[in-house]
Amino acid sequence: MSEATLTEFDTPAVAPHGADDHDAGDHGGHPVSSTGLSNNKLAMWLFLGSECLLFGGLISTYMLYRGRHTGSPGPAQLWDIPLTSVSSFILLMSSLTMVLAVSAAQQRDDRLTNLWLAVTALLGATFVGAQVYEFTTFYYEGVGFTTSLFSSSFYTLTGFHGVHVTVGIVMLMALVGIISRSKVPGDKAEVVELIGLYWHFVDIIWIVIFTLVYLIPA
C-alpha cells in the first residue's frame, strides 16, 4: 500500500540556506527525488522484479515434475482447455478494465475509477471462481495436493497465483472503499496506478502459466 510519503517525509531536495526557505504552505511540494521518479513506483517495480524470481522457481518446479504422476491422472486426463481458455480470457480482460480505471483516476473521475476497479475485481473473482471449480473437479477425479509430484507442483504454482489474484481483489475493493470515502493517503492516481501494476503482473504470470502448463502437452 502507498506509504504516505508526501506528508510523512519532506526532504527539501535543494538545500535552502537561510533566507530562501520553504514556508509552511510550500512544504507540500512533491519531494523532488534524485531521479525525479516516485519512491512508491520504484518500490513496486522492484517488488515485481523480485516476483519474477518467485514465480520462476514455482514454474520451474512444475515443469520439472509435470510428468511425474505414476498411478494417478496427469494433465492430459485433467485439463478442460475450453474452460481454462475462457477464464484466461476473463483475466486478460480484467487487465483492460484496470487500465481504464487508471485512466479514469488520472482524469480525477472518482466514480468512473471506482466503477472500473469494481469490474476488475469482479472479473478477477470470476477467474478465481473458475479455478476453484476446476480444482474441485480435479479433486473429485482423484488428484489432490498430495497425490503426486505433478499435483503438488501444479496446485502450488496455481495456488500461489490464485492467492496473488485474491490479494489483488482485496486491494481493489479496499481501494474502492477508500476512494468513496475520500481517504486515499497520498496521490490517488498513483495509488490506482501502482495497484494496477500489481494486477497486470498477476495477469502476465497467468499468460505464462496458461501457455506452459495447459497448452503445452506433457
Partner: protein
C-alpha cells in the same frame, strides 16, 4: 538552531488539483499515531533509521554470542577423539543452528544495522524512503530469530545442516519440529531482508543530497546498494525452496519424496541459487566498511574508486552464475561441472581487483594503526587466504577431494570470519564515536584484535590440514585410530583448533569489556575524531534526530573531506591545508539550519504486523486456529497501516513548554 516542527496537520500533499488528505481527525477510530520520544515506547514504535540501526546491531550481537556458544560447544566436542560432550543428535542441531544463526541472525542483520544507520547519513538524507517499512523489517527479523531459537526448548532445533538438503531433512529422517522452525523462521526473516532491500534501493536511488551523483557516493553505500539488489532477487528463490519444504513437511506434498519420483537436486539448485549470492551479501558490506576505513587511516583517497565500484557490481552480477560449484559432487555431469568451474574461477578476478585497490590505497600513505585500521588490514590478509582456498575449490577435480571436508570449513571461515566479521569489527571501532559520542579504548581494542587474529588463525588454519587429510564435516566424533603422526597428527590439530576457538572467545569478550568500560567512563569523542572523508561525520555525536541541520550540497567524492581541506600552492608543490574544522562546519550548519523540518511519525503498526507472523508460524506447527488468529491480526494491521493518518493529532501532544504553538525544538 534547527526547528523540527511537530508534524503538521495542514494538508500538505502535492499530486494534483484536488488533493485529498487524511487528517488525524478524520482517521478511522483508534488509529492515532504514537507521540512519545523517550522511553521504551519510543523504541518500540520508532521509525528512525538510527534507532532501528542500533536495534539491529544489538540484536545481531546477541545472536552472535549465541552462535558463538554453539561454536564453542562444537569445538569442545571435537577437542578429543570419540568425545561425549554432545550426543550425535545434539551435535547435528548445534552445527545447523551455529551456521543458521551466524549467517541469518548475525552477519545479515549486522550489515542491515550498519546500512540503516549510515547509508542515509552518507548520502545526506534524513531517513530512508519508507520509514515504517524499515521498522517492520527490523521487528520481522527479531521475531523470526526468536521464533527460530524457541525450537531449542520445543522439541529440538533444526538438525539438517544450514543448507537443509532433502530428503535428509524431511519428516521421515528429521522428525522433530526443528526443521519446521527453521523453514518458517527463515521465511519471516526473509521478509525483513526483502522489504529492507526495496527500502534501501529506493533510498539510495532517490534520496541523495543534491549534487551527489552515484559516482560520488561513498563505497560503503555502493556496496550496500549492490547487496540490496542481490537480496531483492535472491530472497524469492529461497522463499520458493522454503515453501516447498513447508508444504512437504506440514501438508504432505511430494516435492522431495524420492519414491514418488522427486529429484533431491531440485532443493540443492533452489537453495544454492539463493545461497551463492548470499555469500556475497555477507561479504560486500564488510568490503564497503573497509573501503571507508583504509583511506581515512592511510591519509589518502581510495585508490581506483571506479574500479572498486565496478568490481563490486561485477561480483554481484557474476555471483549469479556460480552456484552449482556447491554441487560438484552431486551428479550434475561433466558439462555442468565444467561450466560452473570456469565461472567460479572468473569471479576471483573482481575480488582480486579490490584487494589490489585496497593495497594501493595504503601504499605511500601515512598509516595510522588504529584498531579499525588493524581490522581492515586483517580483512585483506585473512580474506585473501580464504579466497585462495576458494580458488582451489573452483577446480572441480580438486574440489571433489575437498568437498564435505574441513578444508571447506577452513575456506568459508577465513572469508566469513576473517572477512565479514573483521569488517564488522572495523565498523565498530570506526563508527562508535559517531553513534555514542565516546571512543572505544584503543589499548583494549588492540588486545581484542590480536586475540581475534591469533584465535581465528589457530582455529581455522589447522582445518586446511584436517580437511586435506580427510576429516569430514558434520561428524560428531573423530576416532583416535584415524589420526596420523607428526605433522599430520590430526588429534593435535583438532585440539589446537579448539584452543584457538577459546582464544577467539576471549578476544570477543574483550570487545564486550571495551564496550562496557567505554559506556561507563569512556573518553568523550570529538565530532570527527579520525579526520574522515564522508558525510556521516558532518553531524553531531550522535546525529540529531533529523541528521543534518542543512542538507549539504555535494560537489565531489569525499565531500566532507573537501569541506575541510583545500589544495594550496606552495613552494614545494600543491598541498592540502585544513581550512575548516569539524566543529566549525557543525557551527555553520547550526547557524543556517532549516526551519521547517518534518520527520516521519512513529507508528504502532510495523511491530503489530510483524508479531502476526510468528503467531501464524506457530499455528502451522501446532494449531490452525493460531494461524487464523495470526492472519486476522495481519489483515487488521495491514489496513491500519494503510489508513492511519500520517501525523498524530495535535491534541495527542503535550502542550509545548513555551508560548509557540505547534513547534518543538529538535532533540539532539
Amino acid at each position: 538552531m534547527a526547528i523540527v516542527e511537530r508534524p503538521s496537520t495542514v494538508p500538505a500533499i502535492a499530486g494534483g488539483a484536488a488533493p485529498t488528505f487524511v487528517g488525524p481527525a478524520d482517521a478511522y477510530g483508534a488509529y492515532r499515531r504514537p507521540v512519545t520520544t523517550t522511553g521504551w515506547r519510543s523504541w518500540l514504535f520508532t521509525v528512525d533509521h538510527k534507532k532501528l540501526g542500533l536495534m539491529y546491531g544489538v540484536s545481531a550481537m546477541i545472536f552472535f554470542l549465541i552462535g558463538g556458544i554453539e561454536a564453542l560447544l562444537i569445538r569442545t566436542q571435537l577437542a578429543a577423539p570419540d568425545n561425549t560432550v554432545l550426543s550425535a543428535d545434539l551435535y547435528n542441531q548445534m552445527f545447523t543452528m551455529h551456521a543458521t544463526t551466524m549467517v541469518f541472525l548475525f552477519v545479515m542483520p549486522m550489515a542491515a544495522g550498519w546500512a540503516n544507520y549510515f547509508v542515509p547519513l552518507q548520502i545526506g538524507a534524513r531517513d530512508v524512503a519508507f520509514p515504517r517499512l524499515n521498522a517492520f523489517g527490523f521487528w520481522c527479523f527479531l521475531f523470526g530469530g526468536l521464533f527460530l531459537n524457541t525450537s531449542w526448548f520445543l522439541g529440538g532445533a533444526a538438525d539438517g545442516g544450514w543448507f537443509m538438503y532433502q530428503p535428509n531433512a524431511s519428516s521421515l529422517f528429521s522428525p522433530s519440529n526443528g526443521v519446521d522452525y527453521w523453514s518458517l523462521g527463515l521465511q519471516i526473516t526473509g521478509i525483513a531482508s526483502l522489504t529492507g532491500a526495496i527500502n534501501l534501493i529506493v533510498t539510495v536511488l532517490n534520496m541523495r543530497a543534491p549534487g551527489m551523483s552515484l559516482m560520488k557516493m561513498p563505497i560503503f553505500t555502493w556496496m550496500i546498494l549492490v547487496v540490496q539488489f542481490l537480496l531483492v532477487f535472491a530472497i524469492p528463490v529461497i522463499t520458493v525452496a522454503l515453501f516447498l519444504l513447508m508444504f512437504q513437511r506440514n501438508f504432505g506434498a511430494q516435492f522431495f519424496n524420492v519414491d514418488a519420483g522427486a529429484d533431491p537436486l531440485l532443493w540443492q539448485h533452489l537453495f544454492w541459487i539463493f545461497g551463492h549470492p548470499e555469500v556475497y551479501i555477507l561479504i560486500l558490506p564488510s568490503f564497503g566498511i573497509v573501503s571507508e576505513v583504509l583511506p581515512v587511516f592511510s591519509r589518502k583517497p581510495l585508490f581506483g574508486y571506479k574500479f572498486v565500484v565496478f568490481s563490486g557490481a561485477a561480483i554481484g552480477f557474476v555471483g549469479w552464475g556460480v552456484w552449482a560449484h556447491h554441487m560438484f559432487t552431486s551428479g550434475l555431469g561433466p558439462v555442468s561441472v565444467a561450466v560452473f568451474s570456469v565461472s567460479t574461477m572468473l569471479i576471483a578476478i573482481p575480488t582480486g581487483v579490490k584487494i589490489v585497490n585496497w593495497t594501493l590505497t595504503m601504499w605511500g600513505g601515512k598509516i595510522h594503526f588504529t584498531t579499525a585500521m588493524l581490522f581492515s588490514i586483517g580483512l585483506i590478509v585473512e580474506f585473501t587466504i580464504g579466497g585462495l582456498s576458494g580458488v582451489t575449490h573452483s577446480v572441480s577435480p580438486s574440489d571433489t577431494q575437498q568437498t564435505d571436508t574441513y578444508y571447506i570449513v577452513a575456506h568459508f571461515h577465513y572469508v566469513l570470519f576473517g572477512g565479514a566479521v573483521f569488517g564488522i569489527f572495523a565498523g565498530f571501532y570506526y563508527w562508535w564515536p559517531k553513534m555514542f559520542g565516546k571512543m572505544l579504548n584503543e589499548t583494549l581494542g588492540k588486545w581484542n584484535f590480536w586475540l581475534m587474529v591469533v584465535g581465528m588463525n589457530l582455529t581455522f588454519g589447522p582445518m586446511h590440514i584436517l580437511g586435506l587429510q580427510g576429516q569430514p564435516r558434520r561428524m560428531v566424533v573423530w576416532p583416535d585410530k584415524l589420526t596420523g603422526e607428526g605433522f599430520f597428527d590430526l588429534a593435535f590439530w583438532n585440539l589446537a583448533a579448539t584452543v584457538g576457538s577459546y582464544l577467539l572467545a576471549i578476544g570477543i569478550f574483550l570487545f564486550l569489556v571495551n564496550v562496557w568500560r567505554t559506556t561507563r567512563k569512556g573518553a568523550t569523542a570529538p565530532l570527527d575524531p579520525w579526520d574522515a572523508r564522508s558525510l556521516e561525520w558532518l553531524t553531531t555525536n550522535p546525529p540529531k534526530a533529523h541528521n543534518f541541520d542543512v542538507v549539504p550540497h555535494v560537489h565531489a567524492l569525499d565531500e566532507y573531506f573537501h569541506m575541510k581541506y583545500e589544495e594550496v600552492d606552495t613552494d614545494t608543490g600543491p598541498r592540502l591545508v585544513k581550512v575548516r574544522t569539524a566543529e566549525e562546519l557543525q557551527a555553520e550548519q547550526e547557524a543556517n539550519a532549516d526551519t521547517h523540518i518534518h520527520m516521519p511519525s512513529p507508528s504502532y503498526w510495523p511491530i503489530v504486523l510483524a508479531i502476526a507472523l510468528p503467531i501464524m508460524a506457530y499455528g502451522i506447527i501446532y494449531s490452525t486456529l493460531l494461524t487464523v488468529a495470526g492472519g486476522v491480526i495481519l489483515l487488521l494491521a495491514m489496513f491500519a497501516w494503510a489508513l492511519e493518518p500520517s501525523v498524530a493529532d495535535d491534541s495527542d501532544y503535550d502542550p509545548p513548554p513555551s508560548g509557540e504553538a505547534g513547534k518543538e525544538l529538535a532533540s539532539v
